[in-house]
Structures are given as C-alpha cells and as structure tokens.
Amino acid sequence: MMNSHLRQLEDQSVYIFREAYKHFDNLAMLWSMGKDSTVLLWLARKAFFGHVPFPLLHIDTSYKIPAMIEYRDRFAREWRLELVIGQNKEALAKGMNPTLGRVECCTALKTNGLKNLIAEKGYQGIILGVRADEEGTRAKERYFSPRDKHGDWDFREQPPELWDQFKTTFPEGTHIRIHPLLDWTEINIWEYIRAESIPIIDLYFDKGEGTRYRSLGCAPCTTPIKSTARTVDEIIEELRKTTVAERSGRAQDEGRGMELLRKDGYM
C-alpha cells in the first residue's frame, strides 16, 4: 500500500514528466540502472500509461559492474525501451582511469561523455534522477534547471520556480536538466520500490557475505557497506536507524568534489 506522502511525490513527479514531454521535442532520460533512475523509469511509465515516449541514455564509463549491464539489457527488452549508449571513447583510448584522479576521471568519462552525447543528438531536455537529500549542491537544484552552451550550471542565476510553472523556454544551443525526483529521500525511494514491486538490481541486497551496495557507481570508486539487509523491507528498517550518509561510499564526494563537478555539468 502506498502512503499519502508517496502518492504526493508520485503525483508531482508525474506532473513534471508530462510538462517535460509537452515542452521538449528532443527529450531523453538518463538511466544508470541504480535504484533512483530505475524508480524514475517506473514513474515515466506511470506518467505515460505504460509507455516511455523518449530514449534512455546510459553513459558507459566501461568501469560499471557487469551485473548492471545485464540488468540494463534485460529490462530494455522487457519494457520495450529505446536505449542510447554513450561512451567517451577518446578519453578511454588515451587511458583515462580513476588512478589519474577521481574528479578528472568522472569529468572525462561521465560529464564529458554526457556532454558529447547531448551535442551529438541535440537533446534539449535531459531527465535525471538526482535528489535534494543526496548532497548539498543538489539540495539547491530546480526541477527544471538550465545549462548553458558548455553544459555548465550557473547556480547564482537559477530561474524562479513557483506554482509548478517551470523553465521551459531557453535560447538555442542550451539545454534543460529535469529533476522529477528532487523531493524524494533515499527512504522514499525504497518505500516506493516496495509499494510498486519494482524489480530492482540485486547488488543492493546482501547475499550472505554481510555486505551490500547502498549507492551504485563505477566499480573502482564505489564500495559496498557492511549490511545484512537481504530484502527491501530490511533495507527500509536499516535506513530508519542509520545516521551514515548515503553517498559515504562514493569517492567523488570528498572535499569540494561535487560542487566542482556539478558546476561543470555533472549530473
């Protein structure tokens, strides 16, 4: 059963999806196969009554955990999704990897991988699953957040956003990032996965070794947490008690990493 708050979150996200679809001819959505962007995908199916009327982008850094790729291909088939895969082959050919610096690697393989794909396909709107409770700069985001010609985020001059009227007009060459999950917390995500029985990748569950992933990224920069949670119910129980930050297993968040990354267009 869904509680009234989850229903409100769903209603708001669905409204945002429909506004995005109405206003942007060339729209796409990022899917990393993690819990957030999978909930996002589910909400798209809610908004459009079982259909997903725009392509899903996956920025493949080549360092993803193999199970994530299997999961991606399976549901792309089952849910009849249009999948577009982007990869910064040039940077990979030159040997980019996390040992050359985490921020540098994220910028090259993720940020620039995404920017290149946006430029190539001419997307005007990109839907992403970022949440305000993940870290400080995301707490200051808008539902519809403009990026300039270089894909950069001008956080000083964010558009006003009131009464569900969003920034949907913009100059040629710029694009808008759309964030339907902004008001959701980590626990809301899991409660919704439970309420809707969304098939989620099993890396989030402990399989007897006493560890599980709480946040999924590239294999070298994401570490599992100590946990014996084997089911969605157990994860929700665990989250109710924890005071450890969700992204504590994500290396890129150290120091001022995220502000610098996000200013330059990181998700």
Binding site: R18, E19, A139, K140, F155, P160, L162, W163, K167, T243
Partner: protein, 608 residues
C-alpha cells in the same frame, strides 16, 4: 527535550525567511545539531574545514553548500533539507534573505505550507523582514511563526522582544496575517531552539522545535468545486487519454464535464492508471491522472474541466496583484506570455493601478513600469479569452506567472474579473454551447467523412477591395476540391432573418450573423463570410460567438495599410485571386482544418 504533538507519518513543508544576516541558516543548522539530525560526522567535517581555513565555525555552514556562500557568509539559493521529529517529516526550505536573491526566496516560499520568519533582536525589523512578510501573504502562506533571534546580543531583555512583537504584529495585521507566535531565541547559543532557555525565564511559550509541531497540515482541496486543467492529450495506444493534475475537487466515471473556455462537454468514460489494481473509478485533488471521454471532442492543453453548475470565470481582462522579479522592468503595453495552470496565452498590461511599497504598504506614484522586486496592482488583458478563478475562490486556477523572453519573471493572483466588450456575447455562447442538444453524429464523425474540420474564413476590408469576388472564388475552389464549403453574405440575412429589425441596430445584426455562422459551422462546413456592414469590433464579436472554431482572417485593401488585429493573411494592392485562394487553402492545411488529401482515411494534423 519536550515532545510535540503531531500526527504520525505526516509531511509538512516549511520555509525560513527574513532579512539578510538575521540568522536563518544558523537557526536551521542549530535545529539539526540539537536534535541529532545531522548525518554522522557532518558536524566534525565542517568544523575541520573551518579550522583548516582558519575561521570560526558557524552552524550556517552546514547548509550553505556553495563555496561562495561560505566565503560571503550569505545564502544564495534555497536549500531543501529533510528533518524528522516526533513522527512528522519536514522539508525545511532555507531561503536567502539578501535583496538580490528575492526570486530564490520566492521559489522556496512558494512550495511551503508554513513559515518561520526570523528577525534580529539587535537590528530590529528591516526592509526584507517586511517584504518577506508581504510576499508570504501574497503566496497564500497563512501560518507564520516569528523567531526573534540573537537575543543574547540584547542581554535577553523582555522589553526588546516585546517591542519587536508589537511593531511586527501591527504590520502583519494590515496584510490580514496573524502570526501564530513569537519565539525569542539565540540560534548561535541554542536558546529556545530545541531546548527551553534558562536565560529567558520570562518567556512561557514554545521552543522553535515545538512551534514546528504546532503548524497544521493544509486541508485538502477535495471538497472544492472541480478544477481539472488539461495538461496533454495522449494517444500512445487505442486509448485517447486526457492527462492532467486535478487542482481541486474530484472526478469520477460517469461525471459530465464542461471544458472552459471552449465550452465543449462530455461524460467521463474511464479513469486511467498504470499498475494500479483494482482499476480506479475516480481521482481527487492533487492527483496526476488521466481520463477518457465518451465522445471524441476536440480539446487542447490549457482548458479547465469543471462541472456545469460551477464553471470557472472566462474573460480576456482581470485585475491582479503581482510581484515582479524580471531582469527588465515590467512595462505597460508590452507583450508577455501568461501561464495559468497549463494555459499559455499572450497578454499585455493594460493598466498599472499602483505600486505597493512593501515596507509601509503605501501606494507610490502611478507609473508605466514595475521594477524588479516591486509589487503592483494591475489590470491585464489576454489576447484570447482564458478560464480562471479569483484567488480567494480557488488557489491553483487563481494565480499565474508572466514570462518575459525566456524567463518566468512575475507571479500574480487574480483579484477581480473585469468585463470586456464581449462578456455578454461570451456568456450567451457559453450557455448555448453547454445546453446544446447533440445528435448521434459528432464533430469528429463529420470531419472524418468530409475530410476537414469546420472553420470560418472571415474576409475583411473596405469597399471595392474584391472581398466578395475572392469569397466566391474560394468557395468554388474548395467545393471543386471536394470540400464542403458555403458562402455566407450578410446581405442574405437582411431581407429574411433580419426583416423585423431596424437597419441601424448593428449590434443585433452582428449577433444574428454570428449565430447563423455558428449553426453552419456545427454542420461541419467551412464557412466563407464577407460583408461590408461590419467593422473591426463586429468581427471580434463574431469570433466570440463561434469560439473555439478556427477562424482565418483575411484582409483585403487597395494599398498598404495596417490590417485589423488578429489578421492571418493580408493582401494589399492588385490581386491574383487564384493565388490568394490557393494561399488561404494552404493556411487551412497548416492550421489543421483540411486533411492533406481526400481519401478513405484522411490524415489529420490535429487530434479529433
């Protein structure tokens, strides 16, 4: 720590506002720290950073995430933070207090249900303290608790606190806002934030934390009259789904809905949903839903569905209160895009009645512009009629934003409908359409059989400009192409339908002409009309009577001249009637009136 009463698993959005440097972010940081709500290690991490940079730790740094915010010691943009206390979940929005970031404050406050307004005890009530108070009332936030901060700097004196309370209560009473309570605190030292302060024994009220618990959840809009703004129409599969979010009231299978301003009407056949068992039969206020109708009526995004007996207002003109946050000043006479719920329409400011000074609520001299961060009382006129409510009757459909170039630049609430010159005819058309008795053949059936929708081609211009010649040529061409078209000349009504009338009663002549055009349109025809007797205002009256049928206005003149407003095609000088007729037919195609080609299955540009 005391316990506060609150309902389990309830969620509430709170905004913290107030003048710059009065301690909003510090209050928020302290609230988290004193209730052990921070993630493990967060406090130490920020303390470490401060030590490295050689500056004193401040609680405000916990949420001012941008480097620039910490360097300048101010909040630039609102942060959404999540806080749980006594089984109630809060989203607390920390809004910036600096004048320069007023639009960010508004973005934050617009989604709140209650507000904490912070005033510095030492500095007292400042410009933004008042402006924020005023904007809260404009944004419809009626639950306000005032936090008088930095009491430590005034020696925790009761008289200082009481003087501020008295002055600010007086100010708010003019806005008809009654604050729930005033709380004296020191956010920096933790007095009366989560714990009762020993430094102010004279204060018998609640702490900030307990004040949060006393805010009430907004009541649902379910009991209000139905308002369902159409967001989109989907045809991903066999279903034709009208999608949208219910602003007020409820909708259920079998309800008769009226769409405004088109006045179309149909019954709700199903309520659609994905992965919901059992299939729902109704949807209520706040829900993003989808419905199908028993008839394929043509409706578009922006219309508002309601019940027949409680429909919204429809006009082109209304009075409003508006705050402006645009880069450029708002100018009377300039064109802006108005957005109300899902409707978008061009508009202009007809009259700037007065600029309201938020600090003393006095009206300033009349002006032709409204500057950034100013509030004004205006009359706005839209290019086409819009459906709306007064803000006092229905919030979601009683407020709007103005878009200047690419940016949302102003927000306003409707305070009064102003009748325009067509109000009477519009009301007539509305009553007539709602009560219209339909046969079993709908507009979509006719369109499918005829290969086109109904439309009105309105040919205007002075005497001897070839209007009537063009009208005949166009009718002939359309019929030759296999379309159903009819020439309606005003002269044909004069000896018959209008035989009982004195000739000078143009108003009634125009009304009858419009009603005849409306009847012909209902038969599915493309009506080509021309008459010498009517002027520009009359053409507007005819449009009002045939609304929402597509009207293509064609203006003919002997020489270059300014065509009447809303003209689609103008032809000055010598004419090639063949070519003009072809151009009008092309325009009918562009507007989706004509199917591309005639055949068994015409492809329409529009959805029917």
């Amino acid at each position: 720590m005391k316990t506060a009463s609150a309902k389990a698993t309830e969620h509430l959005n709170i905004v913290i506002v107030g003048h710059v440097d009065h301690g909003k972010s510090t209050l928020l940081g302290r609230l988290y720290a004193d209730t052990n709500s921070l993630p493990e290690g967060k406090l130490d991490k920020v303390r470490d950073i401060c030590r490295q940079q050689g500056k004193e730790f401040e609680y405000a740094f916990l949420f001012d995430a941008f480097l620039e915010e910490q360097e300048q010691g101010i909040t630039i943009d609102t942060a959404r933070t999540f806080f749980t206390w006594q089984d109630r979940h809060y989203i607390i929005i920390d809004a910036p207090g600096h004048k320069e970031f007023l639009k960010n404050m508004i973005s934050g406050a617009a989604r709140a249900e209650a507000a904490l307004l912070v005033i510095d005890a030492q500095e007292g009530i400042k410009e933004q303290s008042k402006k924020h108070g005023y904007l809260l009332s404009l944004l419809g936030i009626r639950q306000v608790a005032v936090v008088v901060n930095k009491m430590d700097l005034v020696g925790y004196r009761q008289d200082v606190f009481e003087a501020i309370e008295k002055e600010y209560r007086e100010f708010l009473s003019q806005l008809k806002v009654t604050p729930e309570r005033f709380v004296p605190v020191s956010a920096k030292l933790g007095d009366n934030i989560a714990n009762k302060s020993a430094n102010m024994p004279w204060y018998g009220g609640t702490t900030v934390l307990d004040s949060l618990g006393l805010f009430r959840k907004e009541t649902s809009r379910e009991q209000q009259p139905l308002r369902f703004p159409v967001q989109d129409v989907y045809k991903f599969d066999a279903r034709r789904v009208i999608a949208g979010r219910i602003a007020a009231g409820r909708v259920k299978v079998g309800d008769r809905l009226v769409f405004s301003p088109s006045n179309k009407s149909a019954l709700v056949k199903t309520v659609e949903a994905f992965n919901v068992e059992p299939v729902p039969t109704e949807a209520t206020a706040g829900q993003s839903t989808g419905i199908t109708l028993d008839e394929q009526i043509f409706i578009e995004r922006g219309e508002i569905a309601s019940r027949e007996d409680s429909a919204p207002l429809v006009s082109t003109t209304f009075r409003c209160n508006l705050f402006w946050m645009g880069r450029h000043p708002l100018e009377a006479g300039k064109k802006y895009l108005l957005r109300l719920a899902t409707r978008e329409v061009e508009c202009e400011v007809a009259i700037i009645h007065r600029i309201i000074d938020a600090s003393d609520l006095a009206s300033r001299e009349t002006r032709t512009i409204v500057g950034r961060n100013e509030v004004a009382e205006l009359t706005i006129r839209t290019k086409a009629p819009i459906a709306f409510d007064l803000y006092s009757d229905s919030e979601v459909t009683g407020r709007f934003v103005l878009v200047d170039q690419y940016d949302v630049s102003g927000g306003g609430i409707m305070t009064e409908m102003v009748t325009d010159e067509h109000t009477v005819l519009r009301e007539e058309a509305r009553q007539r359409d709602i009560a219209w008795v339909k046969g079993d053949v709908g507009a979509d059936d006719r369109a499918r059989h005829f290969g086109h929708r109904a439309a009105l081609v309105l040919i205007t211009g002075g005497r001897h400009t070839g209007k009537s010649f063009l009208a005949r040529r166009l009718e002939g061409q359309l019929v030759a192409d296999g379309r159903h078209s009819y020439l309606l000349d005003g002269a044909n009504l004069r000896r018959g339908l209008d035989a009982d009338m004195a000739e000078e009663d143009t108003k009634e002549t125009v009304r009858r002409f419009g009603e005849v055009a409306r009847l012909l349109i209902d038969t599915g025809l493309i009506v080509v009309s021309t008459t010498n007797a009517f002027g520009g205002a009359d053409h507007q009256a005819i449009r009002t009577l045939v609304h929402p049928t597509p009207v293509i206005a064609v203006h003919m003149s002997k020489a270059e001249e300014a065509p009447p407003p809303n003209t689609d095609l103008a032809f000055p000088g010598p004419k090639d009637y063949e070519a003009i007729a072809a151009q009008i037919i092309a325009e009918l195609k562009t507007r989706g009136v004509l199917a591309e080609a005639l055949g068994a299955k015409p492809q329409f540009h529009y959805s029917i």
